[in-house]
Structures are given as structure tokens and as C-alpha cells.
């Protein structure tokens, strides 16, 4: 068959030609392997504590991000650095929120990209609650897990009497073994 006749054939029956495109079979044991890798993600232990203020130091490795709750963003605020989390592990991310005075009725909202979840609450992408802040540092502990290697962001917002502050925490996959 010459090329012009190939073109004629394809023009006459493009769909048939499309259906004949080769498909490389998956590697041996693919189905069982992907299932086995997914199963450990089924049984997450319930969160031992709800997202909230924890004053005690966490036992696990934590990462602190500082934000100052002032009327305006503070110049020279520490940069928001990415947090590395290994798949499929859970890592506690401690977010330090600093207030220059005690505040009541602060609304805190935590929003997760769809490939980030809180341990024990995989179906929750947004949490919001009211709490008080003490003067000085307040720690928000989030047990974070990545659902895939893409990484994502956690958006934390604080609202108090018209004051609004936002903090984004980037979560990347840890390349460490």
C-alpha cells in the first residue's frame, strides 16, 4: 500500500484507524501493585486532637511558620517556606500565630487543596471555627498528609473585627527516603 493509498484508507475510515492505535500493556503485577500501594491509605487513625490551639510542644518533627496578627502585615515577616511531607506519611505542621494582644472571637479558617488532607478527616477540605488568641505565640497544629506527589497549599485565614490576614503554607512531597 502506497502512502497516498494509506491516506485514502484513513480518510475513508478514520475511526477504525484510531481504534487500531497500539496499546502497551501495563507492567507485570500492575493491578495488584497499585491496589497494595493504595490500601494503606484506607485506615487513617482518627485525629487525636481537633485542629486547635495546642500549647505543648508536639512530640513529632514540626515546622513553625510565623504570622503576626497586626492591623497590617509586618515588614520583614519570616518568609513562608514550603513544608516537605513524605508519601504516605502524616506530618504535623505547626503554624505559629503571634498576636500583640489577647483577642477573643477570632475566626480561623483552614482550607486545603484537594490533594492535601488532615489525618483522620480525609473528607474535610475546609475547617472554620472561633477561638481566642493569647498575647504572644499561639500554635495551630495540623496533622497533614499528601494524597499525591503534586503537593499543594494550605490557606489559613484569620478574621477579627474586620481584620483579615491570610497565610499560605506550601506542602511539597519529601524526596527523602
Amino acid at each position: 500500500m502506497t502512502l497516498p493509498s494509506v491516506y485514502t484508507h484513513m480518510k475513508r475510515d478514520i475511526e477504525q484507524a484510531l481504534r487500531s492505535l497500539p496499546l502497551e500493556a501495563p507492567s507485570e503485577g500492575f493491578e495488584e501493585r497499585v491496589l497494595a500501594n493504595a490500601l494503606p491509605h484506607l485506615h487513617r487513625t482518627p485525629m487525636r486532637r481537633h485542629a486547635g490551639w495546642a500549647l505543648a510542644a508536639a512530640a513529632c518533627v514540626t515546622i513553625a511558620v510565623l504570622v503576626t496578627l497586626n492591623l497590617a502585615p509586618t515588614p520583614g515577616e519570616p518568609p513562608e517556606r514550603p513544608v516537605a511531607v513524605a508519601l504516605p506519611e502524616v506530618r504535623t505542621v505547626d503554624v505559629m500565630l503571634r498576636s500583640n494582644q489577647a483577642l477573643d472571637g477570632v475566626t480561623i479558617t483552614v482550607e486545603l487543596d484537594d490533594n492535601i488532607a488532615l489525618d483522620g478527616r480525609p473528607d474535610v477540605q475546609k475547617l472554620s471555627w472561633q477561638t481566642g488568641l493569647k498575647a504572644g505565640a499561639n500554635k495551630l497544629s495540623l496533622p497533614v498528609m499528601l494524597l499525591d506527589a503534586r503537593g499543594g497549599e494550605i490557606l489559613i485565614t484569620l478574621d477579627h473585627n474586620g481584620l483579615h490576614r491570610e497565610l499560605k503554607v506550601r506542602i511539597d512531597e519529601s524526596k527523602e527516603a
Partner: protein
């Protein structure tokens, strides 16, 4: 495997091969296709309580698969399906092709070049509809577009393919 694990496997296993096929059609790469399916299954496991209540887990799985693929595509800034060296024929197995096999190879290469001339949205739609047999309604749900958009993409893609094949050039 405990009861929960068996329930999860029973729910997703019937769709693994279909997901792989679709991922392979989009990526044209076995490793990428397997990685995409793996990511979707991990997400499905985490959200098992949610998807076990769905009427159609397959639609959910394919939708997540497509979103993961689009993210992959955007990360690479071009479709991995038709990379430059693939277009140059460098990834072809080094084998002598004669007679019918040469015709088949020419046909396949021409078709791949024709597909490469399509916009990514058109190409991915053609792969779902004309290659894997999904309906326009299913594709619309997976790609989060209207059925009319799917049909429009298919119409334009087929027109483009016909024009390409008719002239043998882009």
C-alpha cells in the same frame, strides 16, 4: 486484607484497566499511565467513604484521572503524548519494516502526526470518544465541560484529521 480493604478492592478493581487504558491514550507512556492510576487509587482510598456512596465510582475515578493528567501536562508545558523526539521517530523500535507491516507503520505514524496537529483538548476528546468509546455525556462529566463542547471538539478534530490526511501535511 481486612473487610474494608476487600470492599475497596472490589469497588475499584473493575475500573483499573479502563483507567490505565485511558491514561495510556493520553500520555502514550506506560510509566506515566501507571503513575497516574496509582495516584488516583491512593486518592480513592483516602476518600473511600465518599466514593463508596456514589452511583458511579467510574465517573469519579476518570474525572480525578483526567485532572491528574492535565496537571501533568501543564507541568511539562506540552503534551508528553507527542514529544519532539517521538515526532522525529526516535522512539520507534529499531526493526526492519516491509510489506504489510510497513503499511501499518506508515498508517500509524501518519495518524499520530495527524493527532499531534490537534489542540490538546481536541486530542484528548478524540482519544476518549473515538479510541476508547466513551460517550459525549461521559466525556463532558470527566472534563467538566458541556456536551455541546465535547461534540464541537469532536467535530473540529475530525475535520482537522480529514484535512491532514487529505493533504498529508499539517
Amino acid at each position: 486484607m481486612n473487610a474494608e480493604g476487600r470492599a475497596f478492592a472490589a469497588l475499584v478493581r473493575p475500573h483499573i484497566h479502563a483507567m490505565y487504558r485511558m491514561a495510556y491514550r493520553w500520555t502514550r507512556n506506560r510509566e506515566d499511565a501507571e503513575d497516574l492510576v496509582q495516584e488516583v487509587l491512593i486518592k480513592a482510598a483516602v476518600r473511600f467513604d465518599e466514593i463508596r456512596r456514589l452511583d458511579s465510582p467510574r465517573a469519579w475515578l476518570l474525572k480525578v484521572l483526567y485532572r491528574h493528567f492535565v496537571d501533568l501536562y501543564r507541568r511539562r508545558q506540552r503534551s508528553p503524548m507527542f514529544s519532539e523526539h517521538q515526532l522525529a521517530g526516535e522512539t520507534r523500535p529499531a526493526e526492519a519494516a516491509t510489506g504489510d507491516s510497513a503499511d501499518a507503520l506508515a498508517l500509524q505514524e501518519t495518524l499520530e502526526l495527524a493527532l499531534a496537529s490537534l489542540d490538546p483538548d481536541q486530542r484528548e476528546t478524540v482519544m476518549m470518544h473515538d479510541v476508547e468509546g466513551y460517550t459525549a455525556v461521559e466525556i463532558a462529566e470527566v472534563m467538566a465541560v458541556s456536551v455541546g463542547t465535547v461534540k464541537s471538539r469532536l467535530h473540529r478534530a475530525r475535520e482537522r484529521l480529514r484535512n491532514f490526511i487529505g493533504t498529508g501535511t499539517f
